[in-house]
């Protein structure tokens, strides 16, 4: 019996791309093939040369349809089968394959905010909810909103075979987090994009919008980040490699900040558990540092580091690729 393949791709919308998708019916026993779409409707091509190519790069079971149906994450290519300028996965793959011997691995903590009727889910029509404090990892009626979506999303990720590690409510009302990892690149990006797509798709059924905006509400409200945990074979064996990686990130701080998501300077203010985007710092257990060494890692003298700068709206292919280039490049010297 033929099956449904939901082709998913990343478009060319700026400053932050959107996810797009369409369904193809595939014959039983066949793998999904290349496909095409109208790039002029996705900010990826002019109208007179509108065709773009979809090349399947990652597949998993579709947890929202029937058994046998699949999700198909795709690279966008030009019609000469070279990567489209908006295709950031190609950069990530090149970096990962270049430093494969170092076994770089990632775990990403994806924060996001639910919106409804133009304001965060659960917020009053006029004014504000009670100040931050009870929401982080909270429980109880009236203050915890959107949990039914979180539960459905987690179940869907598990059914799809994604490496979801957990979920929790975040500091601002209507804000939540899920974690994906520990995975090599580019799979960390593949699974993160699919998990984001599932979240958008499931929230659709609840009449709720998912925002990955870095600072969804101005003022004394936490922003939304995507803390990125990173290790290599060497960091898992000794502390010197962790120090080398941190120092390399410091030397390239400006380039990383520029590529870590739109609106990052509004989020990395130095307040709300962030370090200022202008001042790179790293340290053990310090949630006010750009890069944090977890206390257990410092004690064990081996493990991983947490780059706390990436925005919630970051591109995981770009962040993973840049961390590999910077850290593995330094470790290879």
């Amino acid at each position: 019996m033929p099956y449904q393949a939901e082709y998913i791709w990343i478009d060319g919308t700026k400053p932050s791309p959107l996810l797009r998708n369409k369904t193809r019916i595939v014959a039983d026993g066949k793998e999904p093939e290349i496909w095409g779409f109208d790039g002029s409707s996705t900010n990826q091509a002019p109208g007179d040369q509108s065709d773009c190519v979809l090349r399947p790069v990652y597949t998993c079971p579709d947890p929202l349809r029937n058994e046998g149906d699949i999700l198909v994450l795709c690279d966008v290519e030009l019609t000469d089968f070279t990567p489209h300028p908006t295709n950031t996965r190609a950069f990530c793959v090149a970096a990962a394959e270049k430093y494969a011997d170092q076994e770089p691995m990632f775990g990403i903590e994806q924060e996001y905010t639910f919106f409804q009727n133009g304001r965060p889910l659960g917020w009053p029509e006029n004014g504000y909810p009670a100040p931050q404090g009870p929401y982080y990892c909270g429980v109880g009626g009236e203050k915890m909103v959107g949990r039914e979506i979180v539960e459905a999303h987690t179940a869907a990720c598990l059914k799809a075979g994604l490496s979801i590690e957990g979920t929790n409510a975040e500091v601002m009302m209507g804000q939540w987090e899920f974690q994906i990892g520990v995975l090599p690149a580019p799979m960390i990006g593949d699974q993160m994009w699919v998990a984001r797509w599932l979240l958008h798709r499931i929230a659709e059924d609840f009449g709720v919008v998912v925002s990955f905006d870095a600072k969804p509400m101005p003022g004394d409200w936490n922003g939304a980040g995507a803390h990125t945990n990173f290790s290599t074979k060497a960091t898992m064996q000794g502390y010197d490699a962790i120090v080398t990686a941190c120092e390399a990130l410091g030397r390239n701080a400006a380039a990383h900040v520029e590529a870590y998501g739109a609106g990052i300077k509004d989020r990395l203010t130095g307040a709300h558990e962030t370090a200022s985007w202008e001042n790179f710092s790293w340290g053990a257990s310090d949630r006010g540092a750009s890069v944090r060494i977890p206390w257990a890692v410092e004690k064990a003298k081996k493990g991983w580091l947490e780059d706390r700068r990436p925005n919630a709206n970051m591109d995981p292919y770009v962040v993973a690729g840049m961390i590999i280039e910077t850290c593995c490049g330094a470790l290879a010297e």
Partner: protein, 143 residues
């Protein structure tokens, strides 16, 4: 009934590897014949999905060398460094097994030279041509 005699010195690492390689190949040939070529072709398409230039070219070099072995030096030139060869090879083998294949995709000898079964290599080269080098544009042109 056929009988096979393998003579080797158990104290010599090279002898052991050679004997193991022969037994692996005999067992793979038997396992491979139980999977239809159409299924193997689809598994190859799935394996190559998402790989970048280095892994794709590593696989191509080994397939091109069949029935012989691709030299370690040539593979190093493709992947970029001798250190990266091990990670590349093990990642490809893990992915092949994860797709439900019980056979070895690429086998290596103690010197790092790599080999692929000739019938598999033929299919790999066909898939590389059809999917990577010169995909049929009409496949992408539906709706």
């Amino acid at each position: 009934m056929a009988s096979v005699t393998i003579t080797f010195n158990p104290d010599l690492e090279g002898d052991i590897e050679e004997a193991r390689s022969i037994l692996d190949r005999l067992s793979e040939r038997s396992a491979a014949t139980s999977v239809s070529p159409e299924v193997v072709r689809e598994k190859i398409i799935a394996l190559l999905r998402g790989y970048g230039e280095k892994r794709t070219e590593y696989i191509r070099q080994v397939a091109l060398a069949a029935p012989g072995r691709a030299a370690f030096a040539d593979l190093t030139a493709v992947v970029g460094s001798a250190k990266a060869i091990g990670g590349t090879h093990s990642a490809i083998e893990r992915a092949w097994r994860a797709k439900g294949m019980s056979t070895t995709f690429i086998s290596t000898d103690p010197s790092g030279n790599a080999r692929m079964e000739p019938h598999l290599a033929t299919m790999v080269l066909e898939v590389l041509h059809d999917q990577v080098d010169e995909p049929d544009p009409l496949r992408s042109a539906r709706f």
